[in-house]
C-alpha cells in the first residue's frame, strides 16, 4: 500500500547546523527510530539495521538509505528501502530547509510503498505508526541539533 508523508518542523538552530546534523551518520543513527547500526558504504549510501517495535508488532529490518540531489544547505533527497520480518518498504522524501528569523524551518514530503505483513495486518494503524515514528525522529533530531548548536553551550 502507498503512504504519503508530509509536514514541517521548526528548529531553533541555524540552517548550517541542521544541515550538518542531517548529513552526519552518527547523528542519524541516534535519531532513526530503532536504528541498531548504520554502516557507511560510501557515496552517501548507508546500510541500515533496524529493530522496530510498535505496540504489539515488532521485528527486525535490514535496509539501505541514500542521500542525493543535495543542494547545501537547503535541500536534500533521502531514499530508504528495507525488508525484514514483517514485510518490505521503500520510499523517498525531499527535505527543504529555510532560514527563519530565529532558527530554521524544515519542510518534507514524500511517498512510501509498503508490502508484506505490515501492509495487510497493519493497514489501519500504518498512518498513525508512521506519524509516531516521524515524531520520534524529530524529537531525537531536535535533541541532537540543540547539543551541536553553539548557542546551547
Amino acid at each position: 500500500m502507498k503512504l504519503d508523508i508530509a509536514g514541517e518542523e521548526a528548529f531553533d538552530v541555524p540552517i548550517e547546523t541542521l544541515w550538518r546534523a542531517l548529513n552526519d551518520p552518527a547523528v542519524l543513527k541516534k535519531c532513526i527510530p530503532g536504528c541498531k547500526d548504520m554502516i557507511d558504504e560510501g557515496g552517501d549510501r548507508f546500510k541500515l539495521l533496524l529493530n522496530l517495535k510498535v505496540t504489539s508488532v515488532g521485528g527486525s529490518f535490514e535496509g539501505a538509505i541514500s542521500l542525493s540531489d543535495k543542494m547545501p544547505p537547503a535541500q536534500c533527497k533521502v531514499a530508504v528501502s528495507g525488508e525484514g520480518t514483517l514485510g518490505q518498504g521503500s520510499g523517498s522524501a525531499t527535505f527543504a530547509l529555510e532560514p527563519q528569523a530565529s532558527g530554521t524551518l524544515m519542510r518534507y514530503s514524500g511517498e512510501g510503498e509498503i508490502g508484506g505483513l505490515v501492509a495487510g495486518v497493519g493497514q489501519r494503524i500504518l498512518k498513525g505508526v508512521s506519524k509516531y515514528l516521524i515524531g520520534q525522529f524529530f524529537t531525537a533530531l531536535r535533541r541532537e541539533v540543540t547539543a551541536l548548536s553553539p548557542a546551547s553551550t
Binding site: 500500500m1 502507498k2 514485510g87 508490502g115 508484506g116 505483513l117 501492509a119 495487510g120 495486518v121
Partner: protein, 800 residues
C-alpha cells in the same frame, strides 16, 4: 410428503455419532499427530506480486542452532514433478516453491526446517532473498487483453481457458423475443476459511519404502498426486484417512504442502510437519475461492417467459491453475437453474493474474452462477412490473415435467419447485411480508424482500474435467464401502476417505442399520489407510449421501443376501422361502424355523460344512459404486450429464438498510429446502444453517481484497470479515421431500445447501430496498462502506 413410516432409522432425528468426540475435545486432528523426532517447517514468502528470484542466501539461517535445512525451489523442482492441474497447459507449471520467478505476494520461495515451529519462523526471517521486481497485473479484464503483462511468459498469454458453448438456437431465440436485458454481476474473491488451517505430517521409512502421510485433507486422488509428483509408486504412499479434518468445504487441497514435506522427510530422514498459521493460510495456502465477473443477456417476452440466455463468466484464477478453471465447468450442469430456458450460450474464460491461486470452494462455482441467474430473473420481473415470485413460477420446470433435460445436456432427476414455494408462502404470508416491508419504508428505512430459487447439483462425478479438457477421459468417480461381520458377530464397516465434518460415519451406520434392520449404533465405522482402501473419490461435489450412502446400501444388501442364502441352505428350504428380518432369517412357511444372527455367524465363520457349496467362508462384502447416470463422455457440442441429482432451495428474506449508515440487516429468513430423502435431519439442518451463514459472508462481508500494488489487504480475520452471531439471523427451514429416482433411498446432496442461494437472495433484497432510490448494486460482497456512499449520493442527487 413425509418419510415417517417408510424407514426405520433413515430420516429419524438420531444423534450424529461423530459429535461425541468433537464435543469433548477428543477429535484426532493433524496437529494431534505427534511422532517422535518430528521437525517443523516455516515458509519464506515473496513480498512482491511479481519478482525474479536472483539469489537466496541461506547461510545465516542454516547457522542458527536447531535449524536443519533450508530448501529452495530449484532443488525441489529438480527432484519432483510439477503438481497436477488437470489442464492442458504445460507452460504454466505449478510447484510447491517458486522456481526463478514468484508470481504473487505471499508465494512460497523457500522452506526452513527446524526443531520447533518458532525456531523455523525465526530462521525464515534470516533467509536473504534478492529479488528483482517485475511488472504485474491484478485485474482479470486487463489480464485478458493481448497487450497485458504476462504472468507466465512461456504460456504466451494470460488466458488459461476460453471456451464458448452454444446449446440450442440462441440467435434465433434472441431475434424472436420482443425483450432483451443485460446485466453485469461481480462475485468477489471469497472462500470458506475453516478454523483449522491446512496441516500435514509426513514420515518416510526407507526400510519399508513407505511414505506415511497424515493431513487435514479433502482432495480427490490425493495419494495418486503425491506419488506422481515424488516419482513414487502409489503403493509406497500411505495416506491415513482416520485424521479428523477441522472444516474444509473445498479448500483443504494441500497438495503443494504435502509434496514439500514429503520431499523433506525423504531428504532428511525424520518426520516433517507443516501446519500453516493464519497468515500463511490466507496469503499463500489454498484459501482463495472464485473471483468472477458475469455478463448476462436474456431474451424474454412480455409475460416474463425467458427463452434464451447468453452468459460470459470471466474468472480471475490467480497465478497458477488450481481447481479454479474447472469451477467454470461445473455450473454447466445447472446453467439454467430451475428454469425452462430453451437455449443458452455460455462462454467460460479463466485468466491468470498476480494474485493467490484459487482453489475449490463449496458449490464449485455454482453459487456465483446462481447469483448471476437470480439477479437477472429479478431484473426481468422489474422490467415488466411483474412480481418476482410470479416470474419464477412461470419459468420453472413443473413437477410433472421431470426427468427434465436442460439445453446443456444434463437431465434433472426430480423436483417439485412450485410446491416448495407454496409451502414457504403458507408458512410466511407473502402479502404480510410485503406489508411489513412497506411499513418499514414508511418509517423511513430502506427495506427489501429478497427471493432466490437455486439448485444444488449433487453426487459429483467431475464430468466438468472432460468437458473443459478433452484429453481427460475419466467417466467414473467411485466411492466404496466394505462390511465385515467378525467371528463374534459384530459389524465393522469401512469408508475410504477423510471427512471434514459431514458426519459420514453416521451416514454409513444409518444406511447399513436401515438395510440390515439393526440398530445403527451396532455398526462400527472405520477408515483404513489408503493402502488398505477400496477406490474412493473424496467428499466433494455434495456427493457422499449419494455415493458413500449408495455403496453402504449395496454392500449391506450383499451381506443380507449372503446371510439369507446361508440360512436357506441350513434350513433346507428354497431361497425364495427364506425371509431376512431384524438380523434373523426365517422360513416364510414356518416362521418358527429360523436361524439367528449368532447361528449365521457360527456357520459362516466356523461351520464350513453347513455352508452352501462354492460360497466363500466368513462374512465380508464390499461394493464399489459408480456415479448414477454417469459413464458417458461429453458430446462434441459440449453436452454432458453432469451430476445425477439436483436439490432445490427457495429463499425468502426481508432486509433493512440503515438509510444513514448503510448497515444491512436481515430481519427475516425463510428457506424451503428439498434434498430428497433426508438420511440424518441434524446433519442436513447443520449444513443448511452453516451454508446460509457462509452465504451471508460472501454476500456482505468476506473478500480477499488486494490494493493497487498487489498486496493482499485481508490477511487476517481483522480484515477478512466473517459474519458472527450478530449478523446471522434466526433461520426457519421449511422441508419438502421429492425423492430422487437415481439413488438408493431417494436421497440427494445437501453439503452446499443454503450457500447456493443465500448470496442471490441477499443481493436481490438489497436491490429491492434500493429500488425507490433508483440505484442498483451487483458487486458482491456488497460492503457497508459502498452501500452507505451510494445511498448518500442518491439522496444528494434527489435534492432539488
Amino acid at each position: 410428503m413425509s418419510d415417517a413410516g417408510r424407514h426405520r432409522y433413515v430420516s429419524t432425528d438420531r444423534r450424529v455419532r461423530e459429535d461425541r468426540r468433537f464435543v469433548v475435545g477428543k477429535g484426532n486432528f493433524v496437529a494431534d499427530i505427534d511422532l517422535p523426532n518430528t521437525r517443523h517447517v516455516a515458509l519464506v514468502t515473496c513480498p512482491y506480486p511479481a519478482a525474479a528470484i536472483k539469489s537466496i542466501d541461506k547461510s545465516t539461517a542454516m547457522a542458527m542452532p536447531g535449524v536443519h535445512y533450508v530448501l529452495d525451489g530449484a532443488e525441489l523442482a529438480e527432484a519432483t514433478l510439477p503438481l497436477m492441474t488437470g489442464l492442458d497447459t504445460p507452460n504454466v507449471p505449478r510447484r510447491p516453491l517458486a522456481l526463478d520467478v514468484a508470481r504473487y505476494a505471499g508465494e512460497w520461495v523457500a522452506a526452513v526446517v527446524a526443531d520447533t515451529r518458532a525456531l523455523a519462523e525465526d530462521a525464515a526471517e534470516k533467509v536473504r532473498v534478492t529479488y528483482e521486481k517485475l511488472p504485474f497485473v491484478l485485474d482479470a479484464e486487463q489480464a485478458a487483453e493481448k497487450a497485458s503483462v504476462l504472468v507466465h511468459e512461456a504460456h504466451g498469454s494470460n488466458v488459461l481457458l476460453d471456451k464458448t458453448f452454444v446449446w440450442g438456437e440462441v440467435d434465433k431465440d434472441f431475434a424472436d423475443s420482443p425483450r432483451h436485458l443485460a446485466l453485469r454481476v461481480k462475485w468477489g474473491r471469497s472462500s470458506t476459511v475453516p478454523i483449522e488451517t491446512f496441516g500435514v505430517v509426513a514420515s518416510w521409512d526407507p526400510w519399508r519404502d513407505i511414505l506415511d502421510v497424515w493431513a487435514s485433507i479433502q482432495m480427490p486422488r490425493y495419494n495418486d498426486q503425491i506419488g506422481i509428483a515424488l516419482k513414487l509408486p502409489v503403493s509406497s504412499v500411505r495416506v491415513h484417512y482416520d485424521v479428523d479434518v477441522g472444516g474444509s468445504y473445498g479448500v483443504k487441497r494441500g497438495i503443494k504442502h504435502t509434496v514439500l514435506v514429503s520431499y523433506l522427510t525423504r531428504r532428511l530422514g525424520f518426520p516433517v510437519r507443516l501446519i500453516e498459521d493464519r497468515l500463511e493460510n490466507m496469503r499463500g495456502g489454498d484459501a482463495h475461492g472464485p473471483e468472477r465477473l458475469f455478463d448476462v443477456d436474456v431474451a424474454f417476452d412480455d409475460n416474463g417467459i425467458i427463452r434464451s440466455m447468453k452468459m460470459r463468466a470471466l474468472e480471475n484464477v490467480g497465478a497458477y491453475a488450481g481447481r479454479s478453471p474447472f469451477q467454470l465447468g461445473k455450473p454447466v450442469g445447472a446453467i439454467v437453474g430451475p428454469y425452462k430456458i430453451k437455449s443458452v450460450q455460455y462462454r467460460a474464460v479463466a485468466v491468470l493474474t498476480n494474485k493467490t491461486t484459487q482453489e475449490a470452494v463449496r458449490g464449485f462455482g455454482q453459487s456465483p452462477t446462481n447469483v448471476a441467474i437470480e439477479r437477472t430473473i429479478d431484473e426481468v420481473a422489474n422490467a415488466l412490473g411483474l412480481d418476482p415470485i410470479e416470474v419464477r413460477r412461470r419459468n420453472m420446470i413443473r413437477h410433472e415435467e421431470f426427468p427434465y433435460t436442460i439445453p446443456s445436456g444434463t437431465t434433472y432427476d426430480s423436483g417439485d419447485y412450485h410446491t416448495v414455494i407454496d409451502k414457504v408462502l403458507a408458512h410466511t404470508s407473502y402479502e404480510d411480508l410485503k406489508a411489513e416491508r412497506d411499513r418499514l419504508r414508511g418509517e423511513g428505512k430502506l427495506a427489501g424482500i429478497g427471493i432466490a430459487a437455486a439448485l444444488e447439483p449433487s453426487g459429483g462425478n467431475a464430468m466438468f474435467e472432460a468437458l473443459i479438457n478433452p484429453k481427460i477421459t475419466t467417466t467414473t468417480f467411485m466411492d466404496s464401502c466394505r462390511i465385515a461381520v467378525d467371528g463374534m458377530g459384530s459389524i465393522t464397516a469401512t469408508m475410504h476417505t477423510t471427512s471434514s465434518g459431514q458426519g459420514h460415519e453416521t451416514l454409513v451406520g444409518t444406511v447399513i442399520g436401515e438395510v440390515l434392520q439393526l440398530d445403527p449404533d451396532l455398526v462400527r465405522v472405520t477408515r483404513p489407510d489408503s493402502l488398505n482402501s477400496l477406490p474412493s473419490g473424496s467428499p466433494v461435489g455434495s456427493r457422499m449421501a449419494i455415493m458413500l450412502g449408495g455403496a453402504a446400501f449395496h454392500a449391506a444388501n450383499k451381506l443380507k443376501a449372503k446371510l439369507t442364502a446361508i440360512a436357506a441352505h441350513d434350513l433346507g428350504i428354497a431361497l425364495e422361502r427364506a425371509i431376512y428380518a431384524n438380523g434373523e432369517v426365517y422360513d416364510r412357511n414356518a416362521p418358527q424355523n429360523k436361524r439367528s444372527w449368532a447361528d449365521l455367524v457360527q456357520i459362516a465363520h466356523r461351520n464350513y460344512h453347513r455352508m452352501p457349496a462354492d460360497m466363500e467362508p466368513g462374512l465380508a462384502v464390499s461394493h464399489v459404486m459408480q456415479v448414477p447416470t454417469g459413464g458417458k463422455l461429453p458430446t462434441a457440442d459440449g453436452r454432458v450429464q453432469m451430476y445425477p441429482c439436483t436439490s432445490f432451495e427457495f429463499h425468502l428474506i426481508l432486509m433493512t438498510i440503515d438509510p444513514d449508515l448503510g448497515t444491512p440487516e436481515i430481519v427475516k429468513y425463510r428457506i424451503g429446502h428439498d434434498c430428497g430423502t433426508v438420511i440424518n435431519p441434524k446433519i442436513v439442518r447443520g449444513m443448511t444453517m452453516g451454508g446460509i451463514a457462509h452465504g451471508i459472508g460472501a454476500a456482505l462481508y468476506e473478500e480477499f481484497a488486494y490494493d493497487g500494488e498487489g498486496q493482499l489487504m485481508a490477511q487476517s480475520f481483522m480484515d477478512y470479515l466473517l459474519p458472527s452471531s450478530h449478523e446471522v439471523p434466526a433461520v426457519e427451514i421449511i422441508h419438502h421431500v421429492t425423492p430422487s429416482p437415481n439413488t438408493v433411498l431417494g436421497q440427494k446432496g445437501s453439503g452446499e445447501s443454503g450457500y447456493l442461494g443465500a448470496p442471490a437472495a441477499i443481493a436481490n433484497a438489497i436491490n429491492d430496498a434500493l429500488r425507490p432510490l433508483k440505484i442498483s448494486i451487483n458487486t458482491l460482497p456488497i460492503k457497508l462502506s459502498v452501500l452507505g456512499d451510494m445511498i448518500a449520493q442518491a439522496k444528494e442527487n434527489k435534492r432539488p
